[in-house]
């Protein structure tokens, strides 16, 4: 593929060539990149709206399989001295109804709102929503201001308080940026379910396309009564709960 003579050229020679043809330098990468971009793979589509239905009746209060699976898949395994500074993309919340004492247990994570406050408040546009409804952080332009953490009604986001070396290759994480549940976007893009859903042996989590009439989640949401957390804020969350 490559010309062996070229490999021996020094940087000075390369730079001289560049200096000689600034016009080439200015235009060429663009052309090459369009060519390189005509790649395989589907792109996220706005026809799809990914969502998650969680049945708190089936969720056991002493089970945190979803949390462990998330940690393994996304490499959230670092040791953090102050537990309040530890990143948690998904957490189990145990609830007690104040009036009746009835208890519930459920996993809480980024609710992947259709109108996400984090995206509204992000000064640089690092918080963004993909066409298919997955809310992500662009770590390349996140400046770490934490305004999104102030604005999120679900406390779904964590801040990278320390430098990391234990990232999984497909899940970049690091110091100084804000992060949250991605619906395991690296898996979803390949047609897999998020790690938490796959790990839930109680069948309490259904993942799928909220817009697809043939999907399990679509059918289920039509059958049972489910609700969005903090529905009063009208954020149109992608994660729905049943049984609370």
């Amino acid at each position: 593929m490559s010309d062996s003579k070229n490999t021996r050229r020094g940087f000075l020679a390369a730079s001289a060539t560049m200096a000689a043809g600034l016009g080439f330098v200015a235009i060429a990468p663009g052309i090459r990149l369009i060519e390189a971009a005509s790649a395989q793979g589907k792109l996220a589509s706005s026809k799809v709206r990914y969502g998650l239905l969680i049945d708190s009746n089936k969720c056991k209060s002493d089970c945190d399989a979803c949390v462990g699976a998330c940690a393994t898949e996304n490499g959230i395994v670092e040791k953090v001295a102050n537990p309040r500074q530890r990143a948690q993309w998904i957490r189990k919340i145990n609830l007690v109804e104040t009036s009746t004492g009835k208890t519930h247990s459920l996993p809480m994570m980024c609710q992947h709102c259709a109108k996400p406050p984090c995206v509204d408040v992000c000064p640089t546009g690092a918080s963004f929503k993909r066409a298919d409804g997955i809310v992500l952080v662009d770590r390349h332009i996140c400046i770490g201001c934490r305004y999104c953490m102030m604005a999120c009604p679900y406390k779904a986001r964590s801040f990278g308080h320390q430098a990391l070396t234990t990232q999984n290759p497909e899940v970049p994480r690091g110091q100084g940026c804000v992060e949250a549940c991605t619906f395991c976007v690296q898996r979803v893009d390949r047609g897999l379910k998020p790690a938490c859903v796959e790990a839930c042996t109680n069948g309490a989590m259904i993942f799928g396309d909220l817009n697809d009439p043939n999907s399990d989640i679509y059918k289920r949401i039509r059958e049972v009564s489910s609700r969005q957390v903090r529905a009063d804020l009208k954020l149109d969350t992608g994660v729905r709960y049943q049984g609370i």
Binding site: V80, A87, P123, T124, I143
Partner: protein, 401 residues
């Protein structure tokens, strides 16, 4: 016509003041570098309280920057002669305060090295993003206005520029208030009253800072402020203090009125530990009532240092108030599931305890160091020292009560 005397008494005072201010600022920057290098683990900011002490100070400085310009506008726009010689110093302080406030908030960023990203990527729905337009424009208008004051040929434009700047400042402070006003997630924020509250607060805090710096500069130059001038300025500060207290009360009362937020108000005002202490002791007693006494008691205010002490107390009260609003607003558990008590590994439903760490404190105080250093150097190289022609003011009736 009255010609101001530009010659200050030179002495070691200038260098001592600059060295002191510069040292405080340098320590603040060093603390920020340490935070940046080690990560925010060296702070006590957490996933539960992501904004804390540096934000209290930064917001105080930024709001005061817009407020201190009122000193100038009262002279230029509203024609009060006593304030006219004070416009230049107000401009200098506004620039210093804004620079310091932005420095503190920028240095606290998780990725402070990405400042160029913040400047080149703008999300127009974000209050923070809009500030990238608000602040530099404010800086430009203030510098332009200062030029119209200092260049005689430009004098005739000063009113126009100041009017534009006044409108811009009101928008800017509304925007700063809306940083919190638009947060619907937490019980403490998400109310429209925050914007006017921040505006009136800016007037009080800006004037308090002005009075302190004016006192320092007069002391350095062996000058004495005429009691008649001081009386007018301290009376205005008193009115501002009262107005701030009114708005803060309205904020708490409206919040109390909504049944769902009763618990939050109870926390902030009664049983929230440090927060009721800072609110009642810091903001109400030391930051409002005591300054009002110092300012309005006929036998106390003329005493040397009374008004300056009042101004210092106003600033202390302001920081207490902002601390209660910003940190207290996060320490109270976010109500994700109304009507249920929540427990989790992420401290859902738990009241948070925050104690600022040393780097945070040093960075925050460093902000004041930056203000002070810029103000002192600016006052040395620019002709901004307010000098009153008392005879003329009295003759024109500007000093009658």
């Amino acid at each position: 016509m009255f010609t101001p005397n530009f010659r200050y008494k030179e002495g070691p005072a200038f260098y001592l003041l600059v060295a002191a201010g510069g040292l405080v600022a340098a320590i603040g920057v060093a603390a920020a570098y340490y935070m940046e290098h080690m990560g925010h683990i060296v702070t006590n900011m957490t996933n539960q309280i992501p904004w804390a002490l540096p934000h209290v100070f930064a917001i105080f400085l930024i709001i005061s920057a817009s407020g201190v310009m009122m000193v100038a506008s009262i002279g230029t726009l509203f024609g009060k002669n006593v304030y006219k010689p004070r416009a230049r110093l107000a401009c200098l302080l506004a620039i210093a305060l804004l620079a310091a406030g932005l420095s503190v908030i920028m240095l606290d960023l998780g990725r402070a090295d990405r400042l160029p990203v913040a400047l080149t990527h703008l999300n127009p729905t974000s209050e923070f993003g809009l500030n990238i337009i608000f602040y530099p424009t404010f800086l430009t208008l203030t510098s332009l206005y200062l030029w119209t004051l200092m260049e005689p040929r430009m004098n005739r434009y000063s009113k126009t520029v100041d009017l534009a700047n006044l409108i811009w400042r009101l928008m800017l402070t509304t925007g700063t208030g809306s940083i919190f006003g638009f947060i619907v997630a937490r019980q403490a924020y998400g109310t429209a009253v925050l914007a006017p509250m921040f505006i009136i607060s800016s007037f009080a805090w800006g004037l308090a800072i002005f009075l302190i710096i004016q006192r320092v500069l007069y002391g350095w130059s062996n000058m004495v402020l005429d009691p008649a001038v001081l009386k007018r300025m301290k009376n205005l500060l008193g009115i501002y203090i009262g107005a701030v207290f009114y708005f803060v009360s309205v904020y708490h009362l409206t919040s109390e009125y909504y049944a769902k937020q009763g618990d939050f108000e109870h926390f902030i005002l009664i049983d929230g530990g440090i927060f009721p202490m800072l609110y009642w002791g810091g903001f109400v007693l030391l930051g409002t009532l005591l300054p009002l006494l110092l300012i309005f008691h006929p036998r106390i205010w003329p005493k040397p240092g009374a008004v300056t002490t009042a101004a210092v107390l106003v600033i202390f009260g302001a920081l207490c108030h902002l601390y209660v609003l910003i940190v207290g607003g996060q320490a109270f558990p976010m109500e994700i599931f109304p009507g249920m008590t929540a427990t989790s590994s992420f401290y859902d439903g738990a009241i948070e305890h925050y104690v600022p760490s040393l780097p945070e404190i040093l960075l925050s105080i460093g902000g004041f160091g930056i203000v002070f250093t810029i103000a002192i150097i600016g006052a040395r190289v620019l002709n901004v020292l307010p000098q009153d022609d008392i005879a003329q003011l009295k003759a024109s009736g500007s000093l009658t009560d």
